[in-house]
């Protein structure tokens, strides 16, 4: 029998953990290989595979449509880029309105409650339709009939309702003793909110908000229903043109290239935060 000897500078526990880690990696790699291999072997055996491959995973179509689709995706990014900061600000306004306790400002509070209830209760795509088709239907002059404006507004209004709730949960998560400490110094309620509660609350909800904004980046594609030729719409055009679904797969891959790293990063932030708090 061999006795595990402690290498210089390593404890027995460290040696054990290193070994267990190595074993884990090997087992995980093998089982993944097995599953992926099985899929790659078995799926092509399906009777309809050839047809599916031709219409969804067509290499030629992929190469031909990719540059144009990538370009169209830049429009998605642009729409996201102007919506996101407006959502961040408008949601904060809503969240603060919901917290006002002054009776004279009760209408603001009522408005914020109704607002979040309504916009969280209606599917995004419906809001996009209603505002995106409805408002330009009023016959406004250019540029006020642009679907970009009203489509973006629909996204901003809807997402602000969710983000406002996230802000509020952050505000409520700040311990009452922080507020007490600020008030006991003689700070006003609004200064207490602005300098003590909000800075901590906003930091705490960064991961949750990141998930919201990842969802927003995907939902920008809903604007394709009311006009703008962004990536989903462009893929649809190619599909009709080439009678092939590969452009949709290309579009999906482009989205994933952005959303997967962002999601991983948000998860990383959440884990880090949980660890810091425990």
């Amino acid at each position: 029998m061999t006795v595990a000897r402690a290498a210089p500078g390593r404890t027995r526990r460290e040696i054990h953990e290193a070994r267990a880690r190595k074993r884990g990696i090997v087992i995980a790699s093998l089982s993944t290989l097995l599953v992926v291999g099985a899929i790659m072997l078995l799926v092509p055996l399906a009777p309809g595979w050839e047809a599916v491959q031709k219409s969804f995973f067509n290499g030629e179509v992929f190469l031909k449509t990719f540059p144009k689709l990538l370009q169209a995706f830049l429009l998605d990014v642009a729409i996201f880029a102007w919506c996101a900061p407006l959502i961040a600000v408008w949601a904060l306004v809503i969240a603060l309105c919901r917290d006002v306790r002054n009776p004279a400002l009760y209408p603001l509070r009522l408005f914020a409650i109704l607002y979040t209830d309504i916009f969280r209760g209606v599917p995004v795509v419906l809001v996009v339709y209603l505002i995106g088709f409805g408002v330009p239907g009023l016959g406004l002059p250019r540029p006020w009939n642009s679907p970009y404006i009203w489509g973006s507004l629909a996204l901003i209004l809807t997402y602000s309702a969710y983000v406002a709730e996230i802000y509020r949960s952050g505000i409520e998560s700040i311990h009452a003793s922080q507020r007490a400490a600020a008030l006991s110094l003689g700070l006003s309620k609004s200064d207490t909110m602005r300098f003590v509660v909000l800075p901590q609350a906003l930091r705490r909800v960064v991961p949750a908000n990141m998930n919201m904004f990842i969802a927003l980046q995907k939902d920008v594609a809903l604007l394709s229903f009311i006009g703008p030729v962004e990536v989903l719409r462009q893929a649809g055009v190619f599909k009709s043109l080439l009678a092939n679904f590969t452009p949709y797969v290309v579009a999906a891959i482009i989205f994933l290239c952005v959303t997967i790293p962002a999601t991983r990063y948000a998860d990383y932030l959440i884990t880090k935060q949980n660890r810091a708090r425990s």
Binding site: S177, Q178, A180, A181, A182, L183, S184, L185, G186, L187, S188, D191, F195, V196, P199, Q200, R203
Partner: protein, 242 residues
């Protein structure tokens, strides 16, 4: 001269009466120690004096002026009364210096540059000059609590309230915080302090009050209260903690 007067103070949470017709006088420059079992209402009393908790009935007079009128804005009063908590409650997203500067900057409308000399002097006086730029989580409990005291002092309050400020500290850090209180006492600060540090109360207090069921059951100079308690419940409490 009497500085702070509480007259038949009442406070309840729901139907649970916590302060029940309490009277207290605090003279200028005095250190008054509140002792009593956990749950006897010490924290609630201090929070009421600072107007953090609205009182139900009775009067609080500071310098001869009724500060407890529920119709009046409590904010200006709180600026005159410093309160330090058991759990420090520093703002974790600000450095020690920012913690201290926030209230004077916002309330007295002084700039950082105007405040810096006086605040640096406070940090020096309490042995924290190297820690001004540190965040609370980079400081020990004793250092955090001293920053919290400086934060309250920076508003130049007329009276300071301390709520078991050494209870959350490791035993070896208690001394450095109590030293701060000794300094304040020697400078003539009026102080009310809830504490379990009986030795300290005996040494520094001008008056010790035993709280029981929301009232002051017995009070007097420390020699009398610790040496010769009159009430059976005071005796029982003291023999349990001493």
């Amino acid at each position: 001269m009497t500085h702070l007067v509480l007259r038949s103070l009442k406070k309840s949470f729901g139907n649970k009466s916590v302060i029940d017709g309490l009277d207290l006088q605090v003279n200028e420059g005095d250190m008054v120690c509140l002792i009593g079992a956990s749950g006897s209402g010490k924290s609630t009393l201090l929070r009421c004096i600072n107007l953090l908790e609205p009182i139900d009935d009775g009067f609080i007079e500071l310098d001869g002026q009724d500060i407890s009128d529920p119709e009046r804005d409590p904010q200006p009063v709180r600026q005159r009364i410093g309160l330090v908590f058991q759990s420090f409650n520093l703002f974790p997203h600000m450095t020690a210096e920012e913690n201290v500067m926030l209230a004077p900057r916002r309330i007295k409308r002084l700039s950082r540059d105007q405040l810096r000399p006086a605040i640096t002097a406070l940090f020096n006086r309490f042995g924290l000059s190297e820690h001004m730029q540190h965040y609370p989580d980079q400081l020990s409990g004793g250092q955090q609590q001293r920053v919290a005291i400086i934060r309250a002092l920076a508003m130049q309050p007329e009276i300071m309230l301390f709520d078991e400020i050494t209870s959350a500290l490791d035993p070896e850090l208690v001394g450095e915080v109590l030293d701060v209180l000794r300094q304040l006492k020697s400078q003539g600060m009026t102080m009310v302090m809830a504490t379990h540090e009986m030795g300290f109360a005996r040494e520094v207090a001008d008056k010790v009050c035993f709280l029981c069921e929301g009232r002051i059951l017995e009070q007097g100079p420390p020699e009398a209260l610790f040496g010769n308690p009159q009430q059976p419940r005071t005796k029982a409490f003291l023999s349990a903690v001493l």
